[in-house]
Structure formats: structure tokens, C-alpha cells
């Protein structure tokens, strides 16, 4: 059983600790005494951090009407039917400039009788499907679907919406839903395109939950890609400089050539400037040791296979 608390009522931020104690709490009968409460302190200061525009970017949307854009509504209808999504009581459409996700898309939603979306389909500015999601699969749905069956269903769904399903996907359990995630990893010139994929998720009952296609533009393959030994030397120089004198060390783990998006992971000046095309780079995992390992599990570096420069990376905290 939960103890009930009440919101602050008419208390200004500066009302002080006593006011917070009085107004912030309501006691459950017989469960606690006022004397037993910790005393909440006044607010800690909000420290201002550098703000990436994409972290607070606005979402601008304009309505899409079937009379004005019958092509978009027709594509949604085709995709919805191919994926077995429920036809709603009505549809709504919008064009979205999404400042958070830094993308523009047309979105058509099927709405149930209460006006809640039962599914959506999004198309990019070229009209290609980027995401189709249904929301009406009960979270407690039961049923046993094998990995093989899920993979076959996923492949069939991609054919239905005109997306490629070449090669062997990776099929894994979705821990949250009990369903499956079937992933076709994109490769180009024999190298993984980091994050690019076609992803099909199925509910525990075997129905299609979603389809997504993520694809970025790629730069040309460098004429003379950096050799692995040279990339390792770049990383060693960088990490020696980073970890020197910090009470920490590092071990270089896996490294391979991948297509990556240059990013601002280690350079705040590049915030909001991340864009296509992806570049071929050595992706090198560095495992911190010593003090840094207490907070950081992994640092991944992107070493441009053309220039040898570190063009981004990632962190596992």
C-alpha cells in the first residue's frame, strides 16, 4: 500500500524547508508520524549545462489532409494492410519538422473510436517508409511464437511494404514485451553501417508490432584506407594523452572498419552539426581500467579511415 502525498499548494519556490515539510506531505493514517519524516531541504541549484539545440528543439507540425495529399494516405493504407494493422475509426495526418529527432516526416495515424492512435506510419521526404508502429497489441498478450516463425513473419512483412530482406537477420527476444526483434543489419562495401538497419518487432502473440528502416548516405570509400596498425597507433596516442595522470589506464579491445556518422561525443563544438554522409572509420573499443572504470565501462572511438582523425565515438557509462 502506498502512502499518499499531496502536491505543493500555493508554495513559492522560496517558501523554505518548513513549508515544504508541511505542504509536501500527507500522512497515511497510522503509517508514520510527522516526527519521523526526514526534512527535505530547499532546492539544489540547477546548474546550466551547454545546451544542444536538438535537446530542446521544438516540434512543428502542419496538418496533412487526405484531399491535399492522397498519395501519402494511400501509401499508409497499403502499408497498414500489408502489416495487418487495424483500420481505425478515422485517420489523421501531419507533416512534422521534429527538432528533437532532427528529421522531417509525414505521419498518418489510425485513430480508434476514442481518438487514440492505434497505429502510425511515417514516410520521409522522399516518400519512403521509415517507421510503422502499432499501439494496440495488448501488453499481456500470450502465445508462443518460435524464432523461426517470427523471422518468417518479419520477412513477409517487409516484402509487403516493399523493403528488402536479403541475407540472414538476427532474431532476438524482446525482454520488455516477450516478443521478438528481427534485425537486418545494413552493410556496404563489406562493412557494417553503424546503426543502419531494417528492424521488425513482433509482439508476444506473433503479430507485427513495428517496422523501421534506418539508412544514411555514405561518402566514398577512401582511396587508401588507414591500415589497422596505423589506426591502433592513433588510438594509443589519443588514449595515452587522455588517461595519462588520471589514475586510470586502458585496454584496446575489438576494432573493425565500419561506416559511422561523425558526431559530437567528444567535441561540444560539433553539437547540432551532425549530418550525412557517414564515413568509413576504424571503430575501436577502449576499456578503461583503474579509477575511470568505476564510472565508465567502455569508450568507443571512430578513427576516420581516410584522414586518420578521430571524428567521434561513444561512451558506455
Amino acid at each position: 500500500m502506498k502512502t499518499v502525498k499531496q502536491p505543493l499548494i500555493g508554495i513559492a519556490k522560496t517558501a523554505g524547508p518548513a513549508a515544504l515539510v508541511i505542504a509536501g506531505l500527507i500522512f497515511s493514517a497510522g503509517q508514520m508520524s510527522a516526527a519521523g519524516h526526514p526534512t527535505p531541504k530547499a532546492t539544489s541549484e540547477l546548474q546550466e549545462a551547454p545546451i544542444a539545440q536538438s535537446a530542446v528543439g521544438a516540434i512543428h507540425e502542419t496538418p496533412l489532409l487526405a484531399d491535399d495529399r492522397p498519395d501519402v494516405f494511400a501509401r499508409e493504407d497499403t502499408a497498414r494492410a500489408a502489416l495487418g494493422f487495424t483500420k481505425g475509426a478515422k485517420r489523421s495526418g501531419r507533416h512534422v519538422h521534429d527538432g528533437l529527432q532532427a528529421s522531417d516526416y509525414d505521419e498518418i495515424s489510425e485513430l480508434d473510436a476514442k481518438g487514440q492512435p492505434s497505429s502510425l506510419v511515417q514516410f520521409d521526404t522522399k516518400g519512403d517508409l521509415v517507421a510503422a508502429v502499432r499501439f494496440d497489441i495488448p501488453v499481456s498478450s500470450s502465445g508462443v511464437v518460435s524464432a523461426d516463425s517470427a523471422t518468417k513473419t518479419a520477412r513477409k512483412s517487409l516484402q509487403g511494404v516493399g523493403l528488402a530482406s536479403d541475407g540472414n537477420p538476427q532474431t532476438r527476444r524482446d525482454d520488455a514485451s516477450g516478443g521478438w526483434a528481427v534485425q537486418w543489419q545494413r552493410t556496404s562495401a563489406g562493412h557494417t553501417v553503424r546503426g543502419d538497419e531494417t528492424l521488425v518487432r513482433l509482439g508476444a502473440d506473433g503479430r507485427i508490432q513495428s517496422v523501421a528502416a534506418v539508412q544514411h548516405g555514405l561518402a566514398a570509400v577512401p582511396a587508401s584506407p588507414l591500415a589497422q596498425a596505423d589506426a591502433r597507433a592513433v588510438v594509443a596516442r589519443q588514449c595515452d594523452a587522455w588517461f595519462s595522470g588520471k589514475g586510470s589506464g586502458y585496454n584496446v579491445g575489438a576494432m573493425d572498419l565500419q561506416w559511422v556518422g561523425p558526431n559530437a561525443a567528444f567535441d561540444g563544438m560539433k553539437l547540432d552539426s551532425e549530418s550525412d554522409p557517414y564515413r568509413l572509420a576504424w571503430v575501436v573499443n577502449v576499456v578503461p581500467t583503474g579509477a575511470a572504470a568505476d564510472s565508465t565501462r567502455l569508450v568507443t572511438l571512430f578513427v576516420d579511415a581516410g584522414s586518420g582523425a578521430v571524428i567521434g565515438g561513444d561512451v558506455v557509462e
Partner: protein
Amino acid sequence: MKRAKVLLVSALLATSSLSGVAQNAAAYGGAVWTNSDSFTTRCLGVSDTYPSQMYSLAKAQFAALGYSPLKGAIGSSFTRSAFLNEVLSDWGVYVHSHGDNYYAASGRPAIDSAFLQDPGSTACSDKNRDIVRSSAIKAATWTTPYNLVIMSTCYLGSSSSTMPAAFSIEKVKNSSDREFYLGYVYSTYDSAQLRFEKAFWSYLNGGARTALQAYTYASSIGGYSSPDSADPFQANWWGNPNFNGRPA
């Protein structure tokens, strides 16, 4: 869950005790906390820009949902004591830091999930010193309800996590209370957390949607990198599938 019978004493006390304080709309506070000092040049050798991006994002989006006043901190003010002193009056809580399902003080195999406070401006992370355990949070929250709790860390969305209970949120997906807990199951890249959270907030604050719909949308868009095949990107949730994430 059936709510406890309530004695409405505090509102009366507040009304009678705070003469001169304007009586206006109820305020459902929230707090956004981010560990950044662990990931600076001083400690890591390089400055990781993701923590500040996620802090800015969460702060703006919790405010957009209606959590006010919005407290918390990024950097050295994010201490264990500041968090534990603040959390009781919050309805929404966001934490970005290193997180894990540590063994409880009582020993294996009991789990007492935790995240790390910011180590401060002159030190670097030390698990033994900086750990903020779910058991300590549970003691500070007094089984009071929480609307939206986001643990932007590794592992605190896994089935063994004890963090939801610290906020009185059962690990069920059919709660009828106004509550939603979001976390990540495995070891997770910062870039993946940021991508997921941007999509989650975009959908949740883009209309009259539920937190589960936003979770489903964000889980569905793909494009998430993962450190290795043993740690696929996987977010998880517990709570009320029909809750819109807004404070009440």
C-alpha cells in the same frame, strides 16, 4: 493499487501556516539529476558531451509535461544527500549516471540496485563513496507515489532491478496507478540512450499520448548501436499502460 486512506492534514496546515504565500494551483515537482563530472577531461581524459545533452533534454521535457517546480542538478550539486533530501517531494524523477544492479549489503544473491552520484569537481567516481542505493531511496520516499521515473543508466530496467520499488512502482505492466518507470536492460551506449529519449519525448509531448505509446514508438524506430551482441539495445518499462506521464 488501492490507495491508502488519507488524512488531509498537510493542506490545512499549509493553508493556516503560510500566511502571505499566494494560494495558486497545486505544484507537482520534479527533479532532473545528471552525473557529469565523472565524464570530464579531469576524470576520463576526454569530455563526454552526452550527459549534458540528456540533462538539457530531460529538463525541457519534464517541464513540458507539467512538472513544476523542476529541481535537481547537473554536476557537483548532484550528491547523494541532495537527491535523498529532495526526492520525497518529487512526482517525476530523472537520473542520468552510471547504474548497476549491485549486490545488497546483506550479501549475494540479494540485489540492491544503485546509481552513482556526481563525484564533485575535485574527485572522480568511487563506487564505494558515490553509490546511491535503491534501499536508501526507498527509505527516503516513504512509499509515496511517483508519476514518472526515468533511470537513464545501464541495467536499471532489467528484471533484477530493485529501483522501481524504491519509487513504489511494482514491476508489472498493468498497474492502474498513475505511474511509469523507464530504464535500460543492458549495458547501453550514451548515443542510444539519447536517441531513444529524444524519440520518447518527441512522441509523448507531441500530442495526447500515453507513456507506453511513446515507449513503443521509441523502441520501434531502430538505429540503436550496442556495445556487443550480449548487450543489445533494450529499453524496458513498468507501470500503467494508459498513463500519459503527466503529473497528478
